[in-house]
Symmetry: D2
């Protein structure tokens, strides 16, 4: 995999993630020393007017309404998939076959079968690939990884993660269609398991290694919702909530939970890891802080340290402002694209690749199987 | 059950809980209008010197070294069991048969069989009885109960509770003997399940109703420890950590977790309940605060409210100091004995009675069975 | 000053502070190894019925309605003044002259003249004496003192303290009479300056040494209130709010503020001290926590540490429960009486003595003078 | 003042603020519907290489090394002053005289005389003008303004603001030169008063109206530092710390404090306002949260609400991501330029104009005079 001097981007999807990615493409070079130039070549969306408006606002040179056309463009080097989950596999495979670099929004796919096909395609084509599990690149989370890699925690006993939201509690919210495809199981593949727990699992395995077995429960609190596209009240196929217990390969125990029915929490992704010597806690609602407890501190002044992760020696922060001034959600995407490019310039791939993300698919698959079976389910492991 | 003008107390056990209960007996009348006088009649402990020193410090009139003698004393009306778990059943049954009121430290017993015998004994004898699940009487927790009973939450979707400690991480800590009987499975019955989760379960069912099924995992991180009494390295029989998923009868989902291996947490009992309209969170480390979120607040000023539960209209607080000045752990016992007596004066029994506590035993029993079987286990329900 | 085997207490005043002190007298011996026995001999209050009810509830053996009678009792060794400020001087002087030990609620007096008379009286009589500036004995505050004395802060640059309340905002609140004497300048001497800032100043000088000069402003927001005793609307003579800037002898700068008009704060006493190497913050609303920042921590994991001051190696805490279980407001008084007695047993006096408290009177006096003059005012220093 | 279809920007200064402003110019149009296009026409810096590198990174079309040349360019419509304080007045006057719109970093000038000249120049020329007091546009602060304007607080009693940093504590830090001109009084005009308190004062008067009088103290803890430009140890002329008491025209009292010697605080700008009915608190270290207390809430559930200001109905937030996902420091500049342009499109000027900022200069001037005189000083008021 070599990196051209100019990487011409073809973006598919102009919703929430299309904006987040475009912002990252534009900002990365202002703050990070990139090994190449990024060009916003084309954006693709089914609605031509919307796509054109988006292209104008963000500076994309061209517009497509059929993703197949975009994937075939000779002037596109990288295809970025920011469209709903049911489109990921087909587009990614086509893009790989067309020799494009492929970036894909998470979750990688709706199910293991799709995900495996995607991994096979990019690896066969030998194209650079990455999945947008952006929370690894919150500076506080990256700092957590650094502290763990330095061995500060000692033997790990516990991991716990939650992703709590409250935006689907109303019975009157429909499913399907533009903004609400996440409630349509055919499009999304699953509910909170693929949408929210996938984030928690990706970070967890990055920080604490492989998960080997799980036992889970899921629930759909609102059983029927009007479908935006059909206009009819239809069964809801997604999981509104999911919790599972897990064991990691390193012997630690874990609890995971996600829901869209936790009143008071907008996007409360929290994680905690307890080791023999030290513990770490992080919370997306105050993403610029890391809580750190080190038992080796002198007893009388021992306590959880609230680290305001905004200093020049904190991950990524030297590139931004001055100590005390925080960055936010969108910056995780900036970090990710910068890392992707600089890794390629070194002849490496930034993580998580499609293969890395397949490991998360194996866990969510085991979780959903366990919720159905009522038993502990083993987790398939990726070949490394 | 009638209440004499003077209740003469016989205390068994002079450790941590013996002190906590004695302090409550002495303070209750200074702050609450009690319907009777409490007299510290006798304390019983196996070590006569220690028992005598305890009696002198706390003002007990007499000392016994055999609990059977204490239970038989004609001048004792109420037997308070603050000795290790393996003594609860035998003492309680004897005390009930002797016609004494019986208070018992939690957990009620080491297992369901013992617990059922105890319930049967106090009910057959018709004596007043109560278990010291003291956390119900933290004013913030009592306030949570009040808010729930007022219907503020609407349909409940989620409950989660944790009790995290970190005091047994060292491999060098022995098991058994005076301060460490909680690590000896023969004395304690179980590890964190009976010690910590029992608290979480008692509060949970008080706030959110019966639990119907569970799936659990347990772990013993340190497999062998020197036993203080035998002097030999022996297998550790308790669970160091336990996590379980649960379903409540009202349709809500739950996660529970307890451990003594969560570095940084001394006694972090937290609980959260998410309803359709409102959510509540509480944390033992800041026990005088209740976090409350009400979705019916106007959108732009909606947020978690940090209620400093120290006002005169908060539960129990009118009896203490002035707003802003907090009480602590020990006061929960004061409240409980005051409630016990005033309920009796009204011809009622304060909760949790032995029968109420049996419901918790049924849950911990199902949890331990599930940890062994790897399957979901139904929870037996008490007859009300 | 020698300590008898039994110290017989005569309490004057049975309000908020009468309860707090009585509770301390009764609890101290249960938790601390006292060098003598405390006997609740007599309580004095102007209303005989109330005094009798109080004596019965708390176990005082006798009742007086004239403080002069109490002071003269041969069976009283220690006079504890818990009555309004306008009675402090006269009682203290009489008690000293009668050879009694004297404890006095803060502030020591209504003004410097009274305070100086009191210091002279106790020192001339050679009787043990102490003022109930209880906040020094919050374990977290005592820990702060310990950390400062160990030299951890280095050169001190800043001190700031606030005491914010919100209980007198209503225009309809009357002044004077039983519960509201704090609003009557003739009884109280001043408003928030003597009531709240006196606490802040006492702690500040204990932690950071003498204050040398101040500039202040005061305000009375509600200019007239009905007087409970006269039934007439009368001018309000107290300061509702007071803020001042100060310089300490050690070169550090300070801001102080107190008010009863800060909506949302019940009793928010906070203090912070910033040194070259470390900083400390404490807050009465979460009194069991100390915030500590040490710049010498490694950069990437540097942050404010939230110390849960409940471990056995924290000041006073070995005597209470187990780590993680907090004590509250009332315990500060328990610690103070225990310290008072154990100091006497060593032939010393616990701080703050009347002389120590006089230093605080000199500061509040300079503050009120500055608020009147609009100029910086020097602070008189006590002879040590 | 009319707004052309395209506003061509000439930026002076490429340091911290040059980056912050450039980022805002580029991002504004992606997130806000702007009434015109922004073109990055030229950047001016004394070092040609650095200026060229900056231009390349950010996309400025041209480079100048003499600000006079930039101001004269016909293809520049707006001059943005992001250079040190000692350059503000001269540049702003020249730009105004050249008929350019003028944006100026805060503080407006080094002193009142310069500031008055600048106001006169822009008003005489009739050119649009604005000062980058960016903290008004933190969504949480804008929300505070909205709540106050809606009258939720009632009569205001107290205002307090602090801006605490700790980056100049080392004696070895030099003064003067590129990054350290803030320590050189000739360049900066003053120390924390102009740098940090100016922010606090601007926000304070925006939220709470005019300040009428002040009494202040300042301190220079490190009296001499090596000067980067001369290489010699020279006296330090700036104030390292400043605190002042103030009275507002609406009768409320205030305390203000800023320092660069508060160990543990990187950029802790906090503000609080206490009204009869409600109070508000905000903290730059968690800038996406607003603390709000409303006494009209029902008593038992009354508490400070922690508002996560990330919802679509919060100021500016509809334009960004989804609820729960926070923005950061840089976004305040985006909001400010968007407001500036949309106000111009309506024929208005966004606040704070140069004249608005002059009011802040009058306060800092009175503060520095008071610190010198030791007396209360009246504050000059701007004509509106």
């Amino acid at each position: 995999m070599t990196l051209p001097k100019e990487v011409r981007i073809g973006l598919i999807g102009y919703g929430f993630m299309g904006r987040a990615h475009s912002n990252a493409f534009l900002k990365a070079g202002h703050f990070f020393p990139l090994p190449c130039r990024l060009v916003l070549k084309a954006v693709c969306g089914r609605n031509a007017d919307n796509a054109r408006a988006f292209a104008e606002r963000w500076g994309y040179e061209a517009v497509e309404t059929d993703w197949r056309a975009l994937v075939k463009r000779a002037d596109v080097d990288l295809v970025d998939i920011a469209s709903p989950n049911d489109t990921h596999a087909e587009i990614a495979v086509a893009a790989a076959e067309a020799g494009k670099m492929v970036l894909c929004e998470k979750p990688l796919a709706r199910n293991v079968a799709e995900a495996e096909r995607m991994v096979e395609a990019v690896e066969k084509a030998g194209v650079a690939n990455m999945v947008w599990y952006n929370y690894r690149r919150v500076p506080a989370v990256t700092l957590a990884k650094q502290l763990i890699d330095e061995g500060r925690l000692g033997r790990v006993f516990h991991y716990r993660a939650k992703f709590l939201q409250d935006w689907t509690i109303s019975k009157d919210l429909p499913q399907g269609g533009a903004a609400l495809w996440r409630l349509d199981v055919n499009v999304a593949g699953s509910g909170v398991t693929g949408d929210l727990l996938a984030h928690c699992i990706d970070t967890a395995m990055w920080l604490n290694g492989p998960i080997t077995q799980v036992t889970a429960m899921t629930e759909t609190f609102i059983k029927e919702r009007k479908h935006t596209l059909t206009g009819r009240v239809e069964p809801v196929g997604i999981d509104d909530a999911c919790a599972f217990l897990a064991r990691f390969a390193n012997g630690s125990l874990a609890t995971f939970e996600a829901t869209r029915y936790a009143r008071g929490h907008k996007a409360l992704y929290t994680l905690e890891i307890n080791g023999e010597h030290a513990s770490i806690f992080w919370d997306l609602h105050d993403l610029h802080r890391l809580q750190y407890f080190d038992h080796r501190d002198q007893g009388i002044v021992r306590g959880w340290r609230s680290i305001h992760v905004t200093d020049g020696d904190h991950p990524y922060m030297k590139q931004w402002w001055v100590p005390g001034l925080q960055i936010g959600y969108e910056h995780t995407f900036v970090h990710q694209i910068a890392d992707f490019l600089s890794a390629l310039a070194r002849g490496e791939q930034a993580s998580p690749t499609f293969r890395d993300a397949l490991a998360t698919e194996y866990v969510t698959d085991a979780v959903l199987r366990s919720a159905a079976s009522g038993s502990w389910e083993p987790v398939r492991q990726i070949a490394k």
